[in-house]
């Protein structure tokens, strides 16, 4: 059943119609939130809060696709949660480096796993260094692969703004990663 049909059932009060939407989008939204916040616990909170807000207001959604709208809510939740976290000192027991980003691929050997981890770390640091709007732009485009039109809908900005933000964000990302040997191996290391 497609999103619109599920949405229609939600609008008529069918609670069960909401669950397939959660299953359909939770991992996509979690991946987005993880790249935006750099922290697995925050990312899980973002997804939980996104669906809580969506559950309450999805039936009233008009004039946007479910997917773009969920991304919009999730981007706002990421922003809110990031700001809440930055208001208080870091919990010393919390892994603020957010190193547990993704489980390593069990098919890779230890060396390849280490390289994969280094690349993930470099990208996480580079993304977190981007200004918020640019980080959102490059994550929606290059992590979640939203179309320009979906991004315009999700961010409520004109298409031209979407394109210029993506362009600027990619330039900043490339500059931030330029010194990372994990992404740009030196000639002598690339054996």
């Amino acid at each position: 059943m497609d999103d619109e049909a599920l949405l229609d059932r939600c609008r008529r009060g069918d609670r069960d119609a909401f669950t397939p939407l959660v299953h359909r989008y939770q991992d996509e939204l979690y991946t987005m939130a993880l790249r935006l916040t750099g922290n697995p616990a925050d990312a899980a909170d973002v997804v939980q809060e996104t669906f809580t807000r969506a559950f309450r207001s999805l039936p009233r959604l008009r004039g946007a696709t479910v997917r773009a709208w969920l991304f919009r809510v999730a981007v706002n939740c990421s922003h809110d949660i990031h700001r809440q976290r930055s208001r208080r000192p870091a919990d010393p027991l919390e892994d603020t480096a957010g190193r547990v980003l993704d489980l390593p691929d069990p098919g890779l050997g230890p060396e390849a796993t280490a390289i994969q981890r280094e690349r993930a770390d470099a990208i996480r640091v580079a993304l977190l260094a981007l200004p918020h709007d640019f980080r959102v732009a490059v994550v929606l485009r290059d992590v979640n692969q939203l179309s320009y039109e979906e991004m315009a809908e999700a961010l409520s900005v004109p298409l031209g703004t979407v394109k210029s933000r993506i362009s600027r964000a990619r330039g900043l990302l490339a500059a931030a990663l330029r010194e990372s040997a994990a992404i740009f191996p030196r000639a002598e290391e690339a054996w």
Binding site: R12, R56, S86, D102, S167, G171
Partner: protein, 303 residues
């Protein structure tokens, strides 16, 4: 040096968005310009690296609220859940616009009800509950204006909302924290006012952190100004913004800090509409011998 013209095309070229002619010209330029070729290769490598990162999985099940997803209706289709924080409205010209906007938007959101714009201030305000009615449904809804109050004239906020003394140095108060990029500093010769938000665009229902400081130019004492969210499209009388008598102040400092610095918080009304502007107004107390103080405002736009 990389030509700006070609660099501006990198992202569109990466996405395959250039027309065949433009792509041909782009490739010819890269063939002749090693700097552009290297820069485009670097961008491609960086973006490919991001795209190749494995997708992650939500680590635990999402818990859904109890009940049905259709919001419970109250008063003319008002949903059960009001956006957290406070709704700013009043009975001055600006306030009536805000109230009308809320009522209209919520009637539309009700779905089955006929769309209608309130005919007058009294009809729009009569349908909206007072502060006490909200407080029970969401614990932290505080200081909602009593919209049924018969007062019309703008009034100073000296009683309900006054500046609070802060034990920080003037030098540190003038240092706006990183990330607060929508900012203004004004000095009238007596008091320096610093006010800043992290962004200039916010979505309906979104929380706005406000960094605001009053610095006495003589004593260098620092305080938090009474700060209010006024809108949409706040009315002005000359340079001053008309503050609705019932506008609720931002959350007082104490509970909230940003990197150790106290900040205030206001919430964009959930019924705000993209394109509207709101003003965050910091009130400067009247100096001795004056009846009315100044104000400094910062504009935010609903996106």
């Amino acid at each position: 040096m990389v030509s700006r013209h070609v660099e501006a095309l990198f992202s569109a070229a990466y996405d395959g968005e250039l027309s065949p002619d433009a792509r041909g010209a782009f490739d010819r330029h890269l063939a002749e310009c090693p700097a552009c070729a290297a820069a485009f290769a670097a961008l491609t490598t960086a973006v490919d690296a991001l795209r190749e990162q494995p997708a992650a999985r939500m680590p635990h099940p999402v818990r859904l609220p109890e009940g049905s997803p259709v919001p419970e209706r109250r008063w003319f289709g008002l949903p059960a859940r009001i956006p957290r924080g406070r709704l700013v409205a009043g009975l001055s010209a600006a306030g009536v616009v805000a109230v009308a906007g809320v009522a209209t938007a919520l009637v539309i959101s009700g779905g089955s009800l006929t769309r209608g714009t309130p005919q007058s201030a009294s009809s729009s305000t009569a349908s909206v509950p007072t502060a006490g009615a909200y407080a029970g449904s969401e614990g932290n809804v505080a200081a909602l204006p009593n919209l049924a109050a018969p007062s019309v004239a703008p009034a100073p906020h000296s009683a309900a909302c006054s500046a609070q003394s802060l034990g920080v140095s003037a030098a540190s108060a003038e240092q706006i924290p990183d990330g607060f990029n929508n900012r203004d500093t004004q000095d009238d010769g007596t008091t320096t006012v610093v006010i800043a938000t992290q962004a200039s665009g916010y979505t309906p229902g979104e929380t706005v952190d406000v960094y605001a400081r009053l610095i006495d130019d003589g004593t260098r004492a620092v305080s938090l100004p009474c700060t209010l969210l006024i809108g949409p499209e706040a009315s002005r009388s000359g340079a001053a913004i008309t503050v609705p008598a019932t506008a609720a102040p931002a959350t007082p400092a104490g509970a909230l800090t940003y990197e150790g610095q106290p900040v205030l918080e206001v919430v964009v009304p959930g019924a705000a509409v993209a394109g509207e502007t709101y003003q965050i107004v910091a009130q400067v107390p009247a100096a001795a011998g004056q009846t009315q103080g100044n104000q400094v405002s910062l504009t935010i736009q609903v996106t």
